[in-house]
Point group: C2
């Protein structure tokens, strides 16, 4: 039986000896999903963490936490609405993807130093929220435009309509936005930093990377076309830059990276462009 | 012609003399929309602010900021994706509803004191994000399930289907969640605090209030039924508690409060329960 501590990042040794509180990511097994954004933050920075999705206790842990009987705990943590959920030590339990990243950002060095740039954290958060809105939540709604509780097949007609609008209007709008951010002064010291904000890797870059990777799985024909068009070159350069980071490269090759499937990013050929 | 400074909160005088940087809310005129969450934070705390929506410069200000030519400014603010946008002094420009609230929270006293409760801010943020997801974004998607760029009439068939699912499944799930939060220990010192977190008003309460108010406009029959059922009594007690705060009471009576219309919360009788 797998134990909770078996699937820590292999790129760094666990630092339990330093007395730091351990990080535990609680997310559904079998899909990258929203948990992947948290995983990438740990992996990019070589931070040890326990990935509960890789253990036998994943499902019972989650169902207990989101159960209708859970009204919160004795440490004043409210009940989480849904995973991903971050447990930090014995007493901190935090939910909502962007919120977990916000909590981790300063701890993992994935936001600007607040002494040098006290507003940077908010800019990073806004960029992450925008990517999650348009490049993660919307792609999910493309295959589930009517009800999350129904099968895709039961809303396929509507999904076809929504997918067309997403490819033709929404995706270009969001990709164009990030292209614009990357061409501006906030990205690098001189607009050539190559990261979304402050010339250094932040969690906004990791979120955008994961969204672009998921979109490439869901809409391969569409993404191939727009990459070939050169229209969003800065965006795809950022994608490759993150993908090429040593920590990320070794993570993506490892068994810790979960394959896409029936999660947020799904490949239904009829929702993609024709070849 | 209206000027930028004409529509500050009348409950407090402007504090320009203290040398504090002024707050300026940039949002579309004519609808409460997502801007309303920011407005309520200012109004609840009697904080002076300029409401650009009430001035002639609203539309040009917004279209300039979200223009495809805007790549950010000389203060390292990235371009905003969409309003609401908060301008703080001459140098800070922040976007995304939950992010603006996060920025304002400590400044306006709408989050727990970080010295007493360093994690409280993240709990408040998670609660606000959950309310915005399920009780603001989803109600919008109920009348626009296919494309934001199309008219309601062009997606009415799909909207009818989605509205049914929203009333039967999603709304009860989110209301049940907040009822559960309010019954737990994180809400008050003894579960009787009557606020979502920490026994005191936070911006999460204001967000939930505004969502419930908007839902009452959009789905009056449905909301009447569930209020009469007594199933979510804590939720509606919170709603009335916020509504009864002196600052909020006088704001809601004032001309500063914008009426609902064709924004996020729309009243289409066919999307509501029958009487």
């Amino acid at each position: 039986m797998a134990t909770d501590t078996s699937s820590t990042s292999s790129s760094n040794k666990r630092q339990k000896t330093t007395g730091e509180k351990p990080f535990r990511l609680i997310y559904w097994p079998g899909i990258p999903g929203r948990g992947e954004h948290i995983r990438l933050a740990f992996e990019a920075t070589g931070t040890p963490y326990t990935d509960v999705a890789k253990t036998d206790s994943a499902i019972p842990t989650i169902t207990n936490l989101i159960s209708e009987d859970n009204t919160g705990d004795d440490h004043h943590n409210p009940p989480p609405f849904a995973p991903p959920i971050l447990q930090h030590g014995d007493d901190v339990l935090i939910s909502q993807t962007s919120n977990i990243l916000l909590y981790l950002g300063p701890k993992l060095g994935l936001v600007p130093d607040p002494k040098e740039d006290p507003v940077g954290l908010y800019h990073v958060n806004a960029l992450a929220l925008t990517a999650l809105d348009g490049l993660s939540n919307e792609p999910h709604d493309v295959h589930h435009p009517i009800a999350v509780g129904l099968y895709y097949e039961d809303q396929k007609t509507e999904a076809l309509r929504r997918a067309k609008d997403y490819r033709e209007n929404r995706l270009p709008k969001f990709l164009g936005y990030f292209e614009r951010v990357l061409s501006g002064k906030a990205g690098g010291r001189s607009g050539e930093g190559g990261y979304l904000y402050g010339g250094k890797l932040t969690y906004a870059d990791l979120v955008l990377f994961q969204c672009l990777d998921g979109l490439s799985f869901a809409f391969p024909n569409y993404i191939k076309k727009i990459r070939e068009s050169g229209q969003y070159d800065r965006v795809w350069k950022l994608y490759e830059r993150v993908k090429g980071l040593e920590t990320i490269k070794s993570y993506l090759k490892s068994e810790r990276r979960v394959e896409y499937g029936m999660g947020i990013y799904r490949h239904y050929p009829e929702l993609d462009d024709e070849e």
